[in-house]
């Protein structure tokens, strides 16, 4: 799975993107975020407040409950502030 991060999340994680093998019990977007948060402190702090996280799976806005189902790219970012 390709993981991409933007804005405050990108800065907290310290990466723009990375490729990761996900364990088989990581089924949903929320599972993936929880699994990443357990990997290292920078992830834990980047994902500490889920109310301030938004997700896109293969470039479509999705929710924590959304199944990953073989998608290629998960983006994790703060609520958008364009316009």
């Amino acid at each position: 799975m390709r993981l991409v991060y933007f804005a405050r999340v990108r800065e907290a994680v310290g990466l723009e993107s990375e490729d990761r093998e996900l364990p088989s019990d990581v089924q949903t977007v929320g599972d993936c975020v929880a699994w990443l948060a357990a990997q290292a402190d920078n992830y834990a702090s980047a994902f500490a407040d889920p109310s301030r996280l938004r997700y896109a799976l293969d470039q479509q806005l999705v929710w924590e409950e959304t199944l990953l189902e073989g998608a290629g790219e998960l983006a994790i970012f703060p609520p958008v502030t364009g316009g």
Partner: protein, 146 residues
């Protein structure tokens, strides 16, 4: 006529809106979002999600055309560094009558604020920079259109 663009260059509002007036309709509405001259902000940095951004703007434009009888639509968003007082986003709509043009224009900017993957960082005169927080009121305005 539908135009969607992510721009690293300054937005020339007059030039971008001119084609909308030439579509034979009676109404052109526009909205320009400008880097606000707040406190000691000197520039806005706009980050975006290149693989997704254009598609999300096209989806918004398509939805506007599905909901209102439009003759044309323009949606241009700048990215990168933007000095205060320069346009960040330009929305333009053309229709036969004003209700369609005005409503579609408000819809496009309200939904862009919650659905399009852009993030603003404010750069200040003292060299500090800070990500802008999303406003709850943006979600409320976007939900109006559900």
């Amino acid at each position: 006529m539908k135009l969607v663009r992510i721009s690293c260059e300054a937005i020339d509002g007059a030039a971008e809106l001119a084609p909308l007036a030439a579509l034979g309709g009676g109404a052109v509405a526009s909205f320009t979002g400008i880097a606000r001259n707040d406190d000691d902000v000197v520039a806005i940095e706009l980050e975006h999600y290149p693989a997704m951004t254009e598609a999300s703007l096209i989806a918004l434009m398509d939805e506007a055309f599905a909901r209102w009888s439009l003759l044309g639509g323009v949606l241009i968003h700048r990215v990168g560094y933007i000095a205060v007082s320069e346009p960040i986003v330009l929305v333009g709509t053309a229709a036969s009558h004003r209700a369609e043009a005005l409503e579609a224009c408000a819809f496009l900017i309200d939904r862009l604020k919650t659905d399009a993957p852009f993030w603003k960082k404010e750069h200040r005169a003292d060299g500090s920079a800070q990500w802008v927080d999303a406003k709850a009121s943006d979600g409320d305005r976007a939900n109006k259109w559900k």
